[in-house]
């Protein structure tokens, strides 16, 4: 989704959101990622108002302290940016699916992940996530996550069918959004 993303070209507008809307967003995020509850006030401070940056294809970025922290497509779920995932790994611990190391180079060039990537010996799918839910894709043998995606096939389906795309790659290490940490 952020393959060709630059702050100058892709961000069409940035606007502050009302505190009521901000509260709604905060509630939605806490609902999706229950482990984030304790630190949500550090990530999305209550005092400064949050900003939403609009990007092509109906994508909006949630910006706090001049950093993009979450993104959303249309009115779907809020996905965390990889920089946030690296810093607060424990908050997203219940959404990690680990792929094998052979898949890394494909993921890092923006490809969606196929089932065999997760049914490998090295791979692990510890949590059963619902379809269209956010998932953090990590790699075997690496400490940091490498991508954030959307589940296309549930865990059992992946194991049974073992063919086709199972996770859509929305945001990966080194893409346009990764390369612009500061949004003014």
């Amino acid at each position: 989704m952020f393959k060709k993303f630059t702050v100058e070209d892709s961000v069409s507008s940035q606007s502050k959101i009302k505190s009521s809307a901000a509260r709604a967003i905060r509630a939605a995020i806490v609902e999706q990622y229950p482990l984030i509850e304790d630190v949500i006030d550090d990530i999305l401070p209550k005092k400064d108002s949050l900003m939403v940056a609009k990007c092509p294809n109906h994508v909006s970025l949630l910006v706090a302290n001049d950093e993009a922290v979450f993104f959303q497509q249309r009115d779907g779920p809020w996905y965390p940016t990889l920089r946030l995932v690296h810093r607060r790994a424990s908050c997203f611990a219940d959404k990690i699916w680990r792929a094998d190391s052979g898949a890394i180079r494909f993921v890092l060039s923006g490809a969606n992940i196929m089932c065999p990537g997760f049914t490998n010996e090295e791979a692990a799918m510890d949590y059963d996530l619902a379809v269209d839910a956010p998932v953090v894709v990590a790699a075997h043998g690496k400490k940091h996550a490498m991508a954030v995606g959307q589940v296309k096939m549930g865990r059992d389906d992946v194991r049974e069918i073992n063919k086709g795309h199972c996770v859509e790659n929305l945001h990966f290490l080194g893409d346009g959004l990764w390369q612009c940490p500061k949004l003014n």
């Binding site: 611990a93 400490k143 290490l173 893409d175 390369q179």
Partner: protein, 437 residues
């Protein structure tokens, strides 16, 4: 104040509230009120007038008519007071008094009085006691010598010279309690800290709370322990999940070396700022092999944080090729193809279509890695002209701009695409190439 003269022998003093509003001290009025008791022999009217006279010297006069009334509802600032004492005539005085009475009805003075009342209450003093100085300037407020104040004061509160002192003491207490709870060694440094952050104590407290944790309740100290346990549990979970050993080796140590862009030094177990390679795409060192600029990144990492490089020991020859392959694939960003430096050249030429219409051509921009379509767009916008990418007869592409923009192009090329003027050539008639000035 009653307008009637004093009852025989009975001094009638203004109430405490009136005193407060009038800004006079009890002492002054006591002295003044002593006067009429001596003049008992005089007829009542004169006595009243006499009593009024010294009072008038002290209190501001308000009044309709002869200005005998000595009661003013509005408090006077020193400036106002002097204005009033210099008022030429009764009429002036009357005018000022009228303005005052109107003003005192205004909203803001009510708010001011409310505020004053609240402030006084918060420090534990009754607002109805006369002060030596007008309450507006808190810095000058001195301890009330009044017996009432002494009675109403709370027994344990040490006599505060001013409101500021009370605040300062509160912060000091809070900070000492805080440090006693978290870090005994720093209790001694509390006074220096307060002196340093004078005026910004709230911010200091907020920062300290952020660093250590919530302020300790004076009753129970259990909260802190629970908080710590929760944090460590989550950390343990995250670590246990398939993390290769040896990767956790002190990223904190390296943060000092690098001077991370993120200036968040506190790692309370939740917020771990990772180390990223400063070159290339800024990937974490373990992923740097997939960076298109792998060579430069590897060098940088060897210099700064060598222990974070993945061990290539296990991988055999396949992976040597695999790495090369992955390097070619890159990290999703297509690297700009920049030709060798000597081959880079941009040629600008102008052709005349009609007698007055010309067309400017730019070719060779792709040698600098510039995308032609985007460049054409930029030119079109800049010159307000139609610009497009056309194929050359010889193969390859060139940008065609309607109109004669030859003069402005080099400057634009230099500014936008950083193409040095030395590499821009102008094609004159007859095919000669000259350097652009």
């Amino acid at each position: 104040l009653p307008q009637t003269p004093y009852a025989r022998g009975q001094p009638c003093l203004p109430s405490a509230r009136a005193l407060d509003r009038l800004g006079a001290t009890r002492a002054q009025l006591l002295a003044v009120s002593a006067a009429p008791s001596r003049a008992k022999s005089q007829p009542s009217k004169e006595r009243g007038a006499l009593a009024a006279a010294p009072l008038n010297a002290v209190l501001p006069r308000v009044g309709r008519g002869r200005g005998a009334c000595t009661f003013s509802r509005a408090r006077l600032s020193p400036r106002e007071y002097s204005k009033r004492s210099h008022a030429r005539s009764a009429r002036d005085r009357w005018r000022l008094a009228r303005r005052d009475s109107k003003r005192s009805l205004a909203h803001h003075s009510k708010k001011r009085n409310l505020r004053r009342r609240r402030r006084a209450e918060s420090v534990g003093r009754s607002p109805l006691i006369a002060y030596h100085a007008p309450p507006r300037s808190t810095a000058k407020r001195c301890e009330p010598s009044n017996q009432y104040a002494a009675a109403r004061r709370e027994p344990d509160l040490v006599a505060m010279a001013s409101y500021d002192d009370a605040l300062a003491k509160m912060f000091e207490d809070r900070l000492t309690a805080f440090y006693k709870h978290y870090d005994e060694a720093k209790v001694a440094s509390v006074p220096t800290l307060l002196a340093k952050y004078k005026g910004k104590e709230e911010q200091l407290l907020a920062a300290v709370v952020k660093k250590y944790g919530p302020e300790p309740e004076p009753d129970d100290d259990d909260d802190d322990d629970d908080g710590d346990e929760a944090a460590t549990d989550e950390e343990a979970e995250a670590e246990a999940r398939g993390v290769a050993p040896g990767k956790d080796a002190a990223p904190d140590g390296d943060e000092d070396l690098e001077g991370e862009p993120e200036a968040e030094p506190e790692s309370d177990g939740e917020d771990k700022v990772p180390v990223y390679c400063a070159l290339g795409l800024g990937l974490p060192p373990e992923y740097v092999e997939f960076d298109p600029d792998y060579d430069k990144c590897a060098e940088w990492i060897k210099k700064h944080c060598p222990h974070l490089l993945t061990d290539a020991g296990d991988d055999g020859d396949d992976d040597g090729d695999g790495k090369k392959k992955s390097r070619k694939r890159g990290g999703g960003v297509v690297k700009k193809k920049v030709l060798a430096e000597d081959k880079q050249k941009v040629i600008i030429s102008k052709e005349v279509r009609n007698k007055k219409k010309a067309v400017t051509t730019v070719e060779g921009l792709e040698t600098f890695g510039v995308k032609l379509k985007d460049a054409a767009k930029v030119f079109g916008k800049k010159f307000a002209a139609s610009s497009s990418v056309k194929g050359k007869d010889t193969g390859g592409e060139e940008i065609v701009i309607q109109g004669d923009v030859i003069w402005d192009l080099p400057a634009l090329l230099e500014k936008e695409y950083k193409i040095p003027k030395a590499k821009i050539w102008e094609k004159e008639k007859g095919g000669k190439l000259t350097k652009v000035r």
